[in-house]
Structure formats: C-alpha cells, structure tokens
C-alpha cells in the first residue's frame, strides 16, 4: 500500500517569520520539488503541506486557521503523522529561471532551488512578496543557496513597493528567462501565467485547492477543468489558469 501513515518526532522547530514555523522531523521522504504531504492531526483534520526538504523531512506551517494553530502549539519531541508524498513536480527549463512566491508559496520553490546544481543556482532569481517586511519568509534561506533574491511588499518596508506581479513585469523589461515558476495566491499566478503566455516563456504554477481524499484522486473535490489538483497537480503548466 502506498498510502500508509508515517509518524515522526519533531527534532527542531524554527521561527521563520511572524506567522511561519519550520518543523524538522526525524524522518526522510523520497519527494520531488512541488510535491506535498497530507498531514493528519488525529481527531481534528488532515491538510496538505509542501515539502521543504527531504532529509531530514522539513515542513513550513503558516498560521492561517485552527489546523495550523494546532500545529504551532507542537513542541520538540511531539509527533507529526503524514502520508505521501503526492502530486506532480516542477520541471527545470533552461539556464535562467525566475521564481515568484507569495506568502507560503516559497516552500515548493525553495525545495526546487535546493535540488538545482550548486553551480546553477546563481542563475535563479527569486521574487518573494508579502504585506510587510516581518511577513517575508525564506529570504536568508534562498540567499544561502546562492540565488538572487528580490522582495516586494505592500508597504514598501522591504524592496519593491507593490505587487510581485508588478515587479515581475519590471524585470521582464530588462531580462529574459527560460522558465518561470510561481506559487502563491491564484490571482497572482494567473497574472504571471498571462505575462509568460504573452512572452512565450515556459511557466509552471502550483495550485491550491481544498483537498478531501488528498492525493488518492477519487473524491473529485479538487477538480479544475476536469483535472484533479491533488493527483495530476498541484504543479501545472501556466495555461491551466488561462483556460
């Protein structure tokens, strides 16, 4: 059976930003960048979380509701139970790649950058957007990998003042990219997909939907235009948002 639940202990908890915590677990998984796990809290619910790193298995949790609040209460040594990984993954394209992340969308993109060869990471430009400076996650992590990091905040407290999509348009005027990858709010990804479609640049988006069976592909809850986000996605070509 592929859908067994695995229970691991929390080795370390790290505060990433105001609302994001990283959990390092005493487990390893065989996952590709873009794939996700279903995390189960007994008696509460089960939700999808992107893989940050496979060894030790690392996940990032953004506090957005009752489930993630419960996750944030966990301490070192507590148990986390998951199944997976599930779903499709990012496909590297060419030399120069642009990553655009909103909020917790940097999780699969960080894992993607980390799996790129060290010598190639300097050709990766990462745009991270958030409301304000204290909400910006993963900047030092991406910098440590050797990627070029740009930030966009609503209030201008860090980097570009405005949306990630505006910064993307600005960069596109100066530079060319072989592949563009985005994860974050759907309205942002749709805009990015549109820009890429006009410029005929390869683009992948990582979609988020409410999952029920989560990765099994039987319940149909997450369908978009007849495609199951939990199984055929979450990573799709950008055109899925333009249909």
């Amino acid at each position: 059976m592929k859908n067994n639940y695995i229970t691991a202990k929390i080795l370390k908890i790290e505060k990433e930003s105001k609302n994001i915590k990283n959990f390092y677990l005493d487990a390893e998984v065989d996952a590709l960048p873009g794939q996700y796990l279903m995390i189960w809290i007994p008696g509460l619910n089960e939700k999808p979380f992107g893989v940050v790193d496979t060894s030790p298995l690392t996940i990032s949790v953004n506090k957005v509701g009752p489930f993630s609040e419960k996750m944030h209460e966990l301490k070192r040594g507590d148990k986390i139970t998951f199944r997976g990984p599930y779903g499709s993954s990012f496909l590297p394209k060419g030399k120069k790649m642009l990553f655009i992340a909103g909020g917790c969308g940097m999780v699969p993109l960080y894992f993607f950058a980390k799996t790129s060869l060290k010598s190639k990471r300097k050709y990766i430009t990462v745009i991270i957007g958030a409301r304000t400076k204290s909400d910006l996650p993963y900047i030092s992590k991406f910098k440590k990998l050797g990627c070029k990091v740009l930030t966009a905040t609503d209030d201008g407290s860090s980097g570009f003042k405005g949306f990630t999509t505006e910064l993307t348009e600005k960069i596109f005027k100066k530079e060319k990219f072989d592949g563009v990858y985005t994860c974050g709010p759907e309205i942002m990804m749709k805009k990015i997909a549109k820009i890429c479609s006009e410029k005929k640049v390869f683009c992948q988006v990582s979609l988020e939907r409410h999952f029920k069976c989560g990765g099994i592909g039987l319940c149909g809850e997450c369908a978009i235009n007849g495609r199951l986000v939990c199984k055929e996605g979450p990573v799709f070509r950008g055109k899925i948002l333009l249909e």
């Binding site: 059976m1 639940y5 099994i216 149909g220 007849g226």
Partner: protein, 309 residues
C-alpha cells in the same frame, strides 16, 4: 454490431447503454468537466455524486483511508445541494453518454421532492441510494435498509418520475432479496447491488486513534467483491428487473464474474484508483477479448450462467 461482431451493449429498463460499465456514484461526480472526462474514459454511463436538499460540508478529513484490498470512506455526503447541483449538471447538456442522477434524503417525502427537482438536469435515469453506512440521517443510519422503508421511498420517487429508476441497496444487510423485491414491487427498473460494505474501522497504532474523522467508513474495492458477487447471485433469483453489480470490480474478469452471477451492468468506483480514469475502456476491451476467445457474441450469452445446474 461492434468490432468482431461482439456486442457488449446492455439495457436497464428503457435505458440503453453501449457498454455495461457505469461510473458509481460518489466518485469524481461533482462537476461537469470531470464527468465528461470519465465519459471519455469509456464509461457506458456516469452517475452524479448524490445530491441532498441542502448543501452539506460532509465529514472532516481524513474521509478516505487505504486498507488491504481497498479503502474505507466516510465522506458524509459532501455536496453543493440540489439547487446548485442541478445548475452544475445542466452544463452536461445532452451528452451521448447517459447521465444518471443520484439523490439521498431523510424521508420518503424528501426523496420525492428531490426526484422532482433533479429532473431539471439532463439525466437519463435516476438512482436513489438507501444504503450509505456512514452518514447520520441517511441510508442505513436512518433505517432505510429495510423492505418497508425501501417500498415507501421507491413509491414516493416513482410517483414523481417516468425515468428509469434504480435503487441502490446495501450488501451489509441480510434481507437483500426482500429489499430488492420491495423496490421491484413499487416500480424500480433496476437494483444497484450495491453500496460500500460495513462500516469498517482502521486504527493508526502509532497514534492509537481511528484514522477516519468519522471513525468508521464503508469498505470498497476488491476486498468486498466476493460478497457483492454472492449478493448479485442471490438477487438474480429474487427479482426479474436488471441488476447493476457494484463492489470491487477492477478488471474484465471481475465484470464477467458479476455478469455470470446475473448482473446486466457493472459499477466502477474504487477501480479508478488502481487503473486510472480509462479503466472503463480497459474493462470493456478485456470483456470483449474474453468473449471473442469463448465464442460469445453478446452479454446475454453468459449472463446468469452460474445459476445453471
């Protein structure tokens, strides 16, 4: 006539199907584009996920857990409700692939009014489900798995529709024959045998808790197939109306076995997990190959042969 002069078409009441495979209710049947995709995968007909009078959130996750030979599920009838459902499925238009409506209610009256409303969608047949093992207020948890309740509900729905009417019953109750007879007597055109079995439970031993949020769930998949086959075999002796065999059918061989027990059509749900969305096409090809090897021309040539002395 089909290729090689082999004809696998079948009939359920006045509903003609090009092939005997039907997408079972509750699997992928939430929206029009997904149903169209299943139809492209070769299904002879597709069944909507059951609609209720009001929208329902269903149970919390996990709603599905894998076990040996199948899954346990406790979805709890998550659906948009009859009004939004009808709007969604109107988009199906008049497909070549027949659409089967599915409704669940708490009482005969509620079934009756749902039957009336769902006909605004372009359905070619209507299935009523009296057999869910895991949702309070519906199916087995509302006492609908008895001959008396089956008769009342079938009668109430029959009054509201001229469409072919299928009654989906449970393999978990002893009186399958009596229940099917009650449905037949009140005008059902076919019996769907049947729903998931159980309920069952799976406990995670590291956490010491049942995995399903609802704790128990209906069992589906190859694990329940032998019970379904026996149930179909029993029903074939009890009723004259056609039987749809649903429960663990994954291959052409499984479908042939069900037809030999007396089924006229077969439902597929969990099988999609094992063989993909085109499982319908694969099963049909496997049935045809087997028929060719055995010199059969149509499904009636071997339907119910397991009953011959």
């Amino acid at each position: 006539m089909k290729k090689n002069n082999i004809d696998i078409s079948t009939k359920l009441g006045t509903l003609n199907l090009d092939n005997p495979t039907i997408l079972a209710s509750g699997i992928l049947g939430l929206d029009t584009p997904t149903l169209k995709k299943v139809a492209k995968g070769g299904a002879g007909a597709v069944t909507l996920k059951s609609l209720t009078s009001e929208p329902r959130k269903g149970h919390n996750n996990p709603i599905l857990v894998e076990i040996e030979g199948g899954f346990l599920n406790a979805v709890g009838y998550a659906n948009k409700g009859i009004d939004a459902g009808v709007e969604e499925f109107k988009k199906c238009g008049n497909n070549n692939i027949p659409l089967i409506g599915s409704i669940v209610g708490g009482s005969a009256e509620e079934f009756g009014s749902l039957a009336e409303k769902i006909q605004e969608a372009p359905i070619k047949a209507l299935e009523i489900v009296l057999s869910c093992p895991h949702t309070p207020g519906y199916g087995l948890m509302a006492g609908q798995g008895t001959p008396k309740a089956t008769a009342e509900i079938t009668k109430a729905v029959r009054r509201k529709t001229k469409l072919p009417l299928f009654v989906k019953i449970s393999p978990s109750v002893e009186a399958v024959g009596e229940i099917a007879k009650a449905a037949e007597a009140e005008g059902a055109d076919a019996i769907n045998m049947g729903n998931t079995l159980g309920p069952g439970m799976k406990i995670d031993i590291e956490r010491g808790k049942p995995i399903l949020a609802f704790k128990v769930g209906g069992v589906s998949g190859p694990a329940i197939r032998s019970i379904m086959i026996r149930s179909v075999f029993d029903l074939y002796k009890c009723v004259k109306i056609p039987i749809i065999a649903t429960g663990g059918i994954t291959t052409g061989d499984d479908a042939i076995e069900a037809i030999m027990a007396g089924a006229s059509a077969i439902g597929i749900g969990t099988g999609i997990y094992y063989r993909g969305i085109d499982i319908f096409k694969k099963v049909c090809e496997e049935i045809e190959e087997w028929m060719k090897a055995h010199g059969y021309k149509n499904l009636n040539d071997f339907k119910g042969v397991a009953h011959e002395e």
